[in-house]
Amino acid sequence: MERRTVTAVSAETVYASKTLASFLSLLFARPAAEVVDLGPVIGSNVTFIGDRVDCKIHVEDLYADIDRHLRQGTLDQLSEFLSGRFPLPDASIDAVLGWDIFDYLAPPAASALAGELVRILRPGGALLGFFGPRACDDPRYTKYFIEDDSHLRSRSYPSACGQRWVLQNRDISIMFAGLELCDSVLLKSGVREILFRKSILS
């Protein structure tokens, strides 16, 4: 992957993302898309998407949910919480920006979340997720800023979460049963960018 620029300011990195381009092309093909963003609100992303397509964006910030459960000592209830997290009808969402949320969820919670996302995606809907290569205890999350159709800028920020999980490709495949693999790219960093789609026939 070509790294366009690397800046030392706030440890921000801009890099090309092939799956983002595919994801956005699917999203922008929808005249009135409904999008779920699992990350914290990024104003420039809202503007970028809103300028290109009539849409409704659900800003969910599951990272804040994880931190809250950590602080309250209720991480063991996270699976149950995520199972009822989205009060959305089945097949009502056109696209999900999952970012790297699954890296911060224990396998049962990750499965519960994946199940919910598969449920709410409408046929033809797309889901973009990033999956890290190694478990670590770096207490930081990452915000992803959409620079243009094929570039992301990432910036880390403090979190209460001290553990990252690694999902194997097989586990990811099982978690997202019901979705088709549309695109998958292994970055030099080891991160796997994966774009899923729900079959139009489902």
């Binding site: 992957m1 070509e2 090309a16 092939k18 595919s22 092309s25 699917l26 999203l27 093909a29 929808r30 009135a32 898309a33 409904e34 609100v41 990024i42 104003g43 420039s44 809202v46 503007t47 809103g50 009539d54 849409c55 409704k56 964006i57 659900h58 800003v59 969910e60 910030d61 804040a64 056109d94 696209a95 409408r122 046929p123 033809g124 809907g125 797309a126 490709n169 097989r170 990811i172 495949s173 088709e180 693999l181 549309c182 695109d183 998958s184 790219v185 292994l186 970055l187 030099k188 796997r192 994966i194 774009l195 789609r197 139009i200």
Partner: protein
Amino acid sequence: MHEELAGIGKSIVLTGELSGDEDLTVEGRVEGTIDLHDHVLTVGPNGHIKAQVIARAIVVLGQMTGKLIATEKVDIRESGSVQGDIVSPRVAIADGAYFRGTIDMQKTDPSTTADRTIGGVTAEPKTPMAEKVKPEPSSVNGEFVRV
């Protein structure tokens, strides 16, 4: 000529329906509904609003909870915090601002959208997304992983 701006001061607590034909700045607390229709509502840094708001533009520097309907623009500044639903053709959220909820930027007549949203009626059914995009091989980024 100097035109005085309408304002609700820090110590004011207002509960109920608030409507007007001029711009309004809120530094106090308001709970209920606010209808400024063709005018601008500014929630100052000290303002706390828990309400359904309809205005031409809404600028948030303080805290808001509820439904924000703007026919022109919603602007959440760095110090602003909004929890709820926004319906507006244009939404600007500054880096550092807090937002959680939904942002509806469908470019239909906002008043129509407002009525639909206020009534809690769901949007019309949609068709599936466009045809599947085929993955393109990449030799630059490393390798494809087929899960």
